[in-house]
């Protein structure tokens, strides 16, 4: 009986994880579709590489930093003595994470994260989240950030920046103690990724030609709209794993109902987001800007992520709809302050992420605006500053920005050597 529950919950966790892994394809297609033709191979390489780096770095140390073992606390009395904690707590834990295998007795894995399903399933489900956060960055820096510095930054973000603040919310850190409520990570994953992206973009600057001397905004249309739409639909599907899996357990009646409410609401919020963005686009321009519909879907999904189980289906539609309105305005805003974000990642994940965190108390009585606000400020502030600092340092050793002639020829030519569509003129 219990074994069946254990098996069912494990199966549910790994299927959810597989769906979240699929989001990597979503980000890759979305970004490949929304950048210019000459930068497509590069963005594809960045996405394949960042996902791989995220998986490896989280195995190396991200996981144990985010979910530190009791040993750490036992030794140090709550990180009083960081040196001892590292030597006796973190370092051995790194070994166990890297050595996670079926041979290992469960109680040796050394994480303060008891659960009723397999640790491997848990790791697998967690690791795809860190990759998601990093994927957000790749879109925002497309078209001008060089590959190697990007990968170096990916190492730092996935090994340290994400786990550090992930610990605050999900690993037992101060946000969880405080009562910050963020079910699947509107803040912890999406806002963090967007804040990191903003930090990097601050150092990096916009693509050449994006903003005219006279303040004009030059649109640089994406090369492949159906691919971008495919990306959004992949994300939509993957998000069922992202949000649905975050209930963590499905094997009893209440959990099963909660998980299915989450599936339903996730879908409803995405639908609301599309409609919000389309309605606003029609109202503002008389046309139905498909790129806004795409961003609206993502914004709706991000907005519901902080609390997908509490709202009714109808409330989920409304939350998504507002997310769709917000992303529209946010994209115009960031363009007006000359923050170049080729795919709208900062708006869809950041601005909508803040909204998602702040709207939780409306439908979830256990959450409070103050604690949500503290969560938003600390995650966004830390993500922004840590990322800005990291790329600032990287930039001192190795320029992160492609030169004018590299940008002109396209990053595919200068860094990848492979044109994305060599036969299409």
């Amino acid at each position: 009986m219990d074994e069946v529950k254990f098996a069912l919950d494990t199966f549910y966790a790994i299927m959810s994880g597989a769906l979240v892994m699929w989001m990597a394809a979503g980000f890759t297609m979305l970004e490949a579709g929304l950048v210019q033709k000459k930068d497509v191979s590069e963005i594809v390489t960045k996405n394949l590489g960042l996902f791989s780096i995220a998986c490896v770095m989280y195995l190396v140390c991200g996981f144990v930093l985010m979910y530190p073992s009791d040993a750490v606390f036992a030794i140090s009395g709550g990180l009083d003595d960081a040196g001892e904690a590292i030597v006796y707590g973190i370092l051995p834990a790194i070994g166990t994470s890297w050595g996670l295998s079926t041979d290992m007795p469960l109680d040796e894995i050394g994480m303060a994260y008891g659960m009723d399903y397999s640790q491997q399933a848990d790791f697998f489900f967690q690791v795809v989240f860190v990759a998601t956060a990093m994927s957000i960055v790749s879109g925002a820096v497309a078209g001008r950030m060089k590959l190697i510095p990007f990968f170096l930054f990916a190492i730092v973000l996935t090994a340290f920046i994400y786990p550090t603040q992930g610990y605050w919310n999900w690993g037992g850190g101060f946000l969880s103690t405080l009562g910050y409520s963020d079910y699947a990570g509107s803040g912890t994953v999406h806002l963090l990724g967007a804040a990191a992206a903003l930090g990097v973009v601050t150092v990096l600057g916009p693509r050449n030609g994006k903003y005219g001397f006279d303040g004009t905004v030059n649109p640089m249309p994406g090369s492949n709209i159906p691919l971008a739409a495919l990306g959004a639909l992949i994300l939509w599907l993957g998000w069922f794993g992202f949000n649905g899996g975050s209930e963590l357990v499905i094997s009893d009646e209440a959990s099963a109902i909660a998980v299915s409410q989450v599936f339903m609401n996730t879908n409803m919020a995405a639908a609301g987001g599309v409609l919000g963005a389309l309605v606003l686009s029609l109202f503002m321009t008389g046309k139905s800007d498909v790129t806004m519909a795409i961003n609206g879907a993502i914004a709706g999904l991000v907005a519901i992520t902080a609390g997908p189980s509490a709202p009714t289906g109808g409330e989920a539609v409304i939350i998504g709809f507002i997310g769709g309105l917000i992303v529209y305005g946010s994209i115009l805003f960031f363009d007006s302050i000359k923050v170049d974000d080729p795919v709208g990642a900062i708006s869809a994940h950041g601005t909508a992420g803040i909204f998602g965190c702040m709207v939780v108390p409306f439908t979830n009585g256990d959450a409070s605006f103050l604690y949500q606000f503290i969560g938003v400020v600390s995650i966004a502030g830390f993500g922004f500053l840590a990322s800005l600092g990291t790329v600032y340092v990287i930039n001192m050793f190795m320029p992160i920005r492609a030169t004018d002639s590299e940008q002109e020829a396209g990053l595919d030519a200068s860094e990848i050597g492979v044109e994305a569509y060599p036969e299409f003129k």
Partner: protein, 112 residues
């Protein structure tokens, strides 16, 4: 020999080509170009920002003809490619010194 270069609206291509064939023209070369002229481009949108695309897609026909067929060709094009609306396009006529058919090495009118 004359080279007739005609810039026409893309959707007129089939009609023009058929008329030319009916008029006895057996060869031509065409390419896709973009035109800028009195006919203005249109407004596009991208991520909320409007911008103008100044040029419009056009088809360029290049037809080499014997001198005596020149007016047949230009007349045929003028009558079939015209819609009466702005942007119908232009026909340029230039003189060609010589022409060679690669397959046979023939030159002059033989090679057209």
């Amino acid at each position: 020999m004359k080279l007739v270069v005609a810039i026409i609206k893309p959707f007129k291509l089939q009609e023009v080509r058929e008329a030319l064939v009916d008029a006895g023209i057996e060869g031509l070369t065409l390419s896709e170009v973009k035109g800028y002229g009195r006919q203005k481009g249109h407004t596009e949108l991208y991520r909320g920002a409007e911008y103008t695309v100044d040029t419009l897609p056009k088809i360029k026909l290049e037809i080499l003809v014997e001198d005596e067929n020149l007016s047949t060709v230009t007349d045929t094009i003028t009558s079939t490619a015209g819609t009466g609306k702005i942007g119908d396009g232009k026909i340029f006529v230039t003189t060609v010194d010589d022409v060679i058919r690669i397959r046979t090495g023939e030159t002059g009118n033989e090679a057209i």
